[in-house]
């Protein structure tokens, strides 16, 4: 990321939101640093607090506790209309009584820019989202994708230093989503603005983000690049939420993880002896061999099914302890097995990760 990025960093500390007398806070002491110019995605299941966190940053939702800084400014006391952030909503939220151009001009009018400059910036920004020739249409005469482009233009036309987007593509069909993902990535590159993007679509998160914050039950489970999260999940939730994984549970003791008839070598960890933990291995890191057996980095399993998926096949297995798992094999490196076979799965110790159970 270039140092001269016009985007601002966003720093969140112990941000908490409790709605009314709800038993559990909707957002629970979330801390996060978004770097200037970074594309940060909030990923997580429904109800995990992504929107609430975003709205608190935008100033659209009151804060129960914690601190938010944008650039070098504490924005706690600033109402939404003075935070200077671009916000794109899932349902577009275009003003239905204004044309596309009037919608885009709205934030500039509120900032009392000269008329000529407003006209020039509106035209330039509509061109940027490829809507130059729809300037005089009312929103209801635009398609969903076009409406969302107007919303995008309206959110960036005043050069905000941070752009917040809450599932901006959620209402669009797959083809349009992919097209707009490319445009959003391009805008992020060209403008250098900091983006915080909410989605519960993994593929979208992986395609767009510099880093991803995984939300669960009002907390951030882990923040990292796509490969960090995939290769080094910090929690069982992250391992399960992003892609498939195999998990072996047991109790840690003297560098080993034992339980449920297994006794495996544990990777280096900060977890104390005696704690419950799970060893996580991704399906493409597992190798199959025909003879049953187990060892430091191996367990025996029964093949239950084999599913072909283009360049890969997925071998579904059941471990001795009853747990289900899967192995992904590239076509061209297939082992000679069939459903019903008893096999051994093994892995390199580098590819196993230990997480708290």
């Amino acid at each position: 990321m270039p140092d001269h990025s016009p985007g601002a960093g966003v720093r969140v500390r112990d941000l908490t939101k409790r709605f009314g007398s709800a038993a559990r806070p909707a957002v629970d002491a979330v801390s996060l640093d978004v770097r200037p110019g970074e594309f940060m995605t909030f990923l997580g299941p429904s109800g995990s607090g992504k929107t609430t966190t975003l709205n608190m940053i935008a100033g659209l939702e009151g804060v129960t506790g914690g601190e938010i800084r944008i650039g070098d400014r504490d924005v706690a006391a600033l109402p939404a209309h003075r935070r200077d952030l671009g916000v794109v909503f899932q349902q577009y939220a275009l003003f239905p009584h204004m044309t596309a151009a009037q919608n885009v001009a709205f934030p500039l009018r509120r900032r009392k820019l000269p008329k000529a400059e407003i006209a020039e910036r509106v035209a330039r920004t509509l061109d940027l989202v490829r809507l130059g020739d729809h300037a005089d249409r009312l929103p209801r005469k635009l398609s969903g994708g076009q409406q969302q482009r107007v919303a995008l233009a309206r959110a960036i036309v005043f050069d905000p230093r941070v752009l917040l987007m809450d599932e901006p593509l959620g209402a669009l069909d797959k083809k349009l989503r992919e097209q707009l993902q490319i445009e959003i990535a391009r805008l992020h590159r060209e403008l250098g603005v900091t983006v915080i993007f909410v989605t519960h679509d993994q593929e979208e998160a992986l395609a767009l983000s510099d880093r991803i914050a995984v939300f669960n039950e009002g907390r951030i489970e882990q923040v990292g690049t796509a490969s960090d999260l995939y290769e080094r999940p910090a929690t069982r939730f992250v391992a399960a939420f992003l892609g498939d994984s195999n998990a072996f549970e047991g109790t840690l003791s003297g560098g080993r993880l034992a339980g449920d008839g297994l006794d495996l070598r544990a990777p280096a960890t900060d977890l104390p002896d005696g704690s419950r933990a799970a060893l996580i291995v991704r399906p493409e890191r597992l190798r199959l061999s025909g003879a049953p057996g187990s060892g430091d980095n191996a367990v025996s399993a029964d093949v239950t099914d084999i599913v072909y998926q283009g360049a890969f096949r997925k071998v579904l297995i059941r471990f001795g302890n009853g747990g289900a798992g899967c192995v992904r094999e590239a076509i061209g490196a297939l082992s000679d097995i069939a459903p019903g076979d008893r096999v051994t799965v093994h892995w390199s110790p580098d590819h196993a990760v230990l997480v708290p159970a």
């Binding site: 939404a80 916000v87 709205f106």
Partner: protein, 260 residues
């Protein structure tokens, strides 16, 4: 239009006719050339319109009513809109009860309102005053504004206000540029109802009128009880024309913007 079965259409048409015919009968009556209410009239003339528009008593009453209705429209629309915001936007204890109270002038029989107003105005010295008329008619007209503005506000998408705030609009600018323009049809029909309510109000007005301050409906009512004068039919036709035009106005405007 969606498919509606013909028996339903027939019943609807019948009800419409039932509601409108008595009003329409007065129109031919007003064009009679006799000094009686014979229906249908034997001969036609405009003499009662001439009398209406040249008699200073009728003209003053028309002018009083129009002026009063305009003031009531402004006051009731402002008060009713503000009350609607409070009712829809804030959650406070007793909001339901307050709403019921504000609707009371529509629900309570007008004659009871009239007696109550009369008794109060006697004490306050408001009987026969312009201020008294404005006050009484505003009480009667405001509920209609509340009904229309409240329903406009209930269907208004509040996410637009959040979007406006995120784009740098102060709460006042948001109200002016986003909320008000979008609930304007509701406010406008409330204003029309308020005007019409005041313009053809007769019961309360009869109680608080004075010989010096008469509204058109009051004068018409006195006319009917005292003599048989087809000028009253002409006056009625004028009232019908004005109120019909006003009620159709918002619909015509809406149709125009829809097809723009």
């Amino acid at each position: 239009m969606s498919r509606v079965s013909w028996p339903l259409r027939a019943v609807t048409a019948l009800v419409a006719v039932w509601l409108v015919v008595p009003t329409l009968i007065v129109i031919p009556l007003s064009f009679t050339d006799r000094a009686s209410f014979a229906f249908p009239p034997k001969g036609w003339s405009l003499r009662y319109y001439e009398r209406f528009f040249t008699d200073s008593g009728w003209l003053i009453a028309l002018f009083n009513s129009a002026q009063l209705a305009l003031i009531v429209t402004v006051v009731a629309t402002a008060l009713g809109s503000a009350a609607s915001f409070a009712l829809v936007r804030s959650r406070f204890r007793g909001a339901g009860a307050l709403n019921g109270l504000l609707m009371a002038p529509i629900v309570v029989p007008t004659i009871i309102v009239a007696i109550a107003v009369y008794a109060t105005f006697l004490r306050w010295g408001l009987v026969g005053t312009a201020a008294g008329f404005v006050l009484a008619h505003t009480v009667l007209a405001t509920p209609y504004v509340i009904v229309t503005v409240t329903s406009a506000l209930r269907t208004f998408d509040r996410r637009l206000e959040r979007a406006a705030a995120s784009l740098g609009a102060t709460p006042w600018a948001t109200l002016r540029h986003v909320t008000l323009p979008l609930i304007l049809p509701g406010v406008a029909s409330g204003a029309v109802f308020a005007f019409v309510t005041s313009f053809d109000e007769v019961v309360v007005s009869l109680f608080i009128q004075s010989p010096e301050l008469q509204t058109l409906p009051v004068r018409m009512f006195s006319g009917v009880t005292n003599e048989v004068d087809p000028t009253i039919a002409a006056a009625s036709t004028v009232v019908v024309a004005i109120t019909t035009a006003l009620i159709l106005l918002p619909q015509l405007l809406r149709r125009n913007t829809d097809h723009a």
